[in-house]
């Protein structure tokens, strides 16, 4: 009976088993040192691997949101610039009207009205990235019909309203006989209907009232465009249309004054309305900035926790590599010495 017996097979098997497991560890440790992450994240984290995938995905998603918010912000900037052009144009029409009240020629006023209407049409029909920015949701269609284009529906509707109200066409000499009161009734009635009634959507604008709604944060949406149907635009359009169309010298001076004073009050109101819309848009822009800021912070937090989950301490890992190398070298040395150790050498 031998208490401490060792078989040659067990000795060589133990040596090779230890070497393979050491080499396996070394390979993993090396990979961890170079990548800074666990060599096999799934194996290291087990059930928490899903968290890593979720964090990865959320980070990409939040970064994607910030990119798309950049696009939305750019559109808002373009819209704000357009609104500024509108108010500038409204201001110059206003000053022309103020001067016009003091005996300016109707021709100058009419030109100012025409410029205003053309600018308005141009600005509202401007596009960004292939989308008409003032079309509401209907962004693939130009919102405003050009009043001065041949056969324009809005011009025709205006002339028709004139004829229906006064009983004679726009070109009739009787136009001269329209009094200031009659003109005021016309402007407050049929013309008002054209711009603020169903006629606006029929002949003037193809835009929808609602704007484009965008997701600006994970759980946050905002309406980020303006519509050509907003009151400020309608008022400015009405003011510039009546000035451009009616002040062609065919009216009596009383009727002309009625038109001018009507236009003046409309332009005043429109500037206030447009400024209000600009302010509202500014608020949305601010919300987007805030959302971006929040998402950046979230991404930072997510990246930190992702790091906590899957990163290894590279200092610890490189120490481990060194230890393993030393261990393997010892093991090699030991193997040769043990293999050399045989009674055969002494017989």
């Amino acid at each position: 009976m031998k208490i401490s017996f060792v078989s040659n097979y067990a000795v060589s098997k133990a040596l090779s088993y230890q070497l393979t497991s050491l080499q396996n560890d070394l390979m993993k440790a090396q990979q961890e040192v170079s990548s800074g992450k666990y060599a096999d994240v799934g194996l290291a984290l087990g059930a928490r691997t899903g968290q890593v995938v979720a964090l990865d995905r959320d980070i990409e998603r939040l970064e994607g949101l910030q990119v798309s918010n950049g696009l939305v912000s750019a559109r808002i900037d373009v819209t704000s610039t357009a609104l500024t052009r509108l108010t500038t144009q409204a201001d110059s029409l206003m000053s022309a009207l103020n001067v016009g009240g003091n005996g300016n020629t109707t021709e100058v006023l009419r030109a100012a009205g025409k410029t205003a209407l053309e600018t308005l049409t141009g600005v509202l029909n401007s596009s960004h990235n292939g989308e008409y920015i003032f079309s509401g949701v209907n962004t693939d269609v130009q919102p405003i019909t050009d009043y001065f284009a041949p056969g324009a529906a809005n011009k025709a509707a205006f002339d028709q309203a004139f004829e229906d109200h006064f009983g004679f066409p726009r070109t009739d000499p009787q136009t001269k006989d329209i009094t200031a009161d009659e003109m005021t009734t016309f402007l407050d009635g049929p013309v008002q209907d054209i711009f603020f009634g169903p006629g606006w959507q029929e002949d003037w604008s193809k835009a929808t009232d609602e704007g484009v709604t965008n997701r600006i944060g994970l759980n946050e949406t905002a309406e980020t465009t303006l519509s050509a149907n907003m009151d400020g635009v309608r008022k400015l359009a009405m003011a510039s249309t009546i000035v451009a169309d009616l002040l062609d010298g065919s009216l009596s001076s009383g009727a002309q004054d009625a038109v001018i004073s009507h236009a003046r009050s409309l332009v005043g109101e429109s500037v206030a309305d447009i400024n209000q819309s600009t302010a509202r848009l500014g608020l949305v822009d601010k919300r987007i900035d805030d959302a971006n800021e929040r998402m950046k912070m979230q991404v930072d937090i997510f990246k930190t926790s992702l790091g906590n989950l899957q990163n290894v301490d590279s200092y610890e890992a490189s120490t481990r590599v060194n230890n393993l190398l030393a261990q393997i070298e010892t093991s090699y040395a030991l193997t040769t010495r043990i293999q050399r150790l045989s009674l055969l050498n002494y017989l």
Binding site: Y9, K13, G42, A47, A54, R61, N138, T208, S342, L344
Partner: protein, 485 residues
């Protein structure tokens, strides 16, 4: 006592030393053979002055049994780990990059950029392409799982025929052992052969051994089913040519009794056969169920419900052969992951109209939601929200029943990685145990060349002494004969 007697004893001593040296050389030549048990040639005195050599084979029955059960446990665990690793690679790709979870994230991003500019058809096409990637991943994952089940089935078949073959060889070895024991011959070589066969058998199925008279051995499985008694019992199995998601594999029968599949990621399966049954019927099937539920979650997240959300929900972006109706809720539809597809009505490459994704109406005019214009984004946002909204999943998938499809897909990864982690840890532990027991057994029954050499020195000396004795007796007899002359 006479000189002749002395000569006779010295002669016999030479003979037994010869036999002992033979045993030493056999031991040395098998020093690296793991299945070899050390022999020792022991001198036994039978009658006064008479010595015979008897050959003893080193054994340790309890260590050997421990070794067999450690081998069964390790081989079962290793088979399970191997299967889980292969499933991880083929279903989720390298570092899970091809998993449904990651691809749903990409779809979310595509939806996000589409909702920013809904009038841009290219972005809509991008959503459809992202969806196609998910469909591809699910289809391929499902196919890989079914192929894996088929492969397991084939491996089970191979193992079963190998087992039958091993049992037949075991019968031969056992019979030879019994015969040798009965005729008081040396059974050592056959015993080595029989032990080696036992190791191979217990890597496939766990065995308990009972030794009867004349060294006859009876084999049973752990739960008492006879595997071998005088003659081998049949192990039968029938493979299925191709697997579909709802196919149920056949069982393995030992002597008519079904073999139980393993359970758990630190599996209780002993032997590779039970582990392969577990992979085929439990692990792969659960994974298939999870993929099917992900597919169902996607189909219902993108379902159309009409402008007021009150119409019968019908399949939208994602559909299946049973569409446009949705797959039944709260239960697994086997094979759904393999048959989920992109709805041709929105697929530009199949002549569909991407804008229907934005406007609704995939299922006819009644389902049209957008009547205002090209930049309508509410429906796209709803789809994106639906992916994050909790829904009811089948309890059979084992991942929680009330969660969003995104989290569910994540859960599937967690489940698989957890299984892999536990299986790896268990395999390491079981391997260590196997190493330890086989080392202990080898230390009990293996050969140490140094010892054999020192024995050889002893025998050499004994031989020299005997030879010297013969020479001395010869000289004495010569002296006597010379004196007579």
């Amino acid at each position: 006592m006479s000189l002749t007697t002395a000569l006779g004893i010295a002669q016999r001593s030479l003979l037994s030393t010869g036999r002992q040296t033979g045993v030493v050389s056999q031991n040395i030549s098998n020093a690296q053979n793991p299945d070899y048990s050390r022999r020792s040639a022991v001198l036994i005195s039978s009658a006064p002055g008479a010595r015979t050599v008897e050959i003893l084979r080193a054994t340790n029955a309890s260590l050997f049994r421990n070794g067999l059960s450690a081998l069964s446990a390790f081989s079962g665990q290793a088979a399970l780990l191997d299967g889980v690793q292969s499933l991880t690679r083929s279903v989720n790709g390298v570092e899970n990059q091809g998993s449904a979870s990651i691809l749903i994230g990409k779809l979310q991003q595509a939806l996000q950029s589409y909702q920013t500019t809904p009038s841009n058809e290219n972005l809509g096409g991008n959503v459809v392409e992202s969806a196609r990637q998910i469909v591809k991943s699910l289809n391929e994952g499902s196919a890989a799982i079914q192929q894996f089940r088929g492969q397991m089935d084939q491996e089970i078949k191979t193992s079963v025929s190998e087992l039958n073959d091993l049992l037949a060889r075991f019968e031969q070895a056992n019979r030879a052992v019994v015969n040798a024991t009965q005729s008081k011959g040396d059974a050592s070589d056959w015993l080595d052969e029989r032990d080696a066969l036992l190791k191979k058998i217990s890597a496939i199925v766990p065995v308990s051994t009972i030794t009867r008279g004349n060294n006859d051995m009876v084999l049973t499985t752990q739960n008492g089913v006879t595997l071998f008694e005088t003659v081998p019992r049949t192990v039968s199995f029938e493979a299925i040519p191709a697997y579909s998601a709802d196919a149920v594999g056949n069982g393995v029968f030992i002597d008519g009794v079904p073999l139980a599949a393993g359970f758990g990621s630190n599996t209780d399966a002993a032997g590779s056969l039970a582990a392969k049954l577990q992979l085929r019927d439990d692990v792969a099937k659960t994974m298939q169920g999870q993929l099917d539920e992900i597919a169902r979650g996607l189909i219902s997240s993108f379902a159309e419900t009409g402008p007021d959300g009150t119409l019968t929900p019908l399949a939208g972006l994602f559909t299946w052969p049973g569409g446009p109706d949705l797959p039944p809720a709260g239960t697994i539809t086997p094979g759904l992951a393999g048959s989920i597809q992109i709805n041709a009505a929105v697929d530009p490459t199949a002549g569909g109209d991407v804008n229907k994704l934005r406007d609704g109406g995939i299922n006819g005019a009644a389902y049209v939601v957008n009547t205002s214009g090209a930049s309508y984004s509410a429906l796209i946002q709803k789809y994106s929200e639906n992916l994050d909204k909790p829904m009811t999943f089948a309890p059979g998938a084992g991942l929680g029943e009330n969660t969003s499809v995104t989290d569910f897909a994540n859960g599937a990864i967690s489940w698989l990685e957890q299984t892999r982690q536990q299986a790896t840890n268990a395999a390491e532990a079981k391997n260590a145990l196997l190493m330890q027991t086989s080392q202990a057994l080898s230390n009990e029954t293996g050969v140490n060349i140094d010892e054999e050499l020192s024995l050889l020195l002893q025998y050499e000396q004994a031989y020299q002494a005997s030879a010297r004795l013969i020479k001395a007796v010869d000289e004495m007899l010569a002296t006597l004969l010379n004196a007579v002359e």
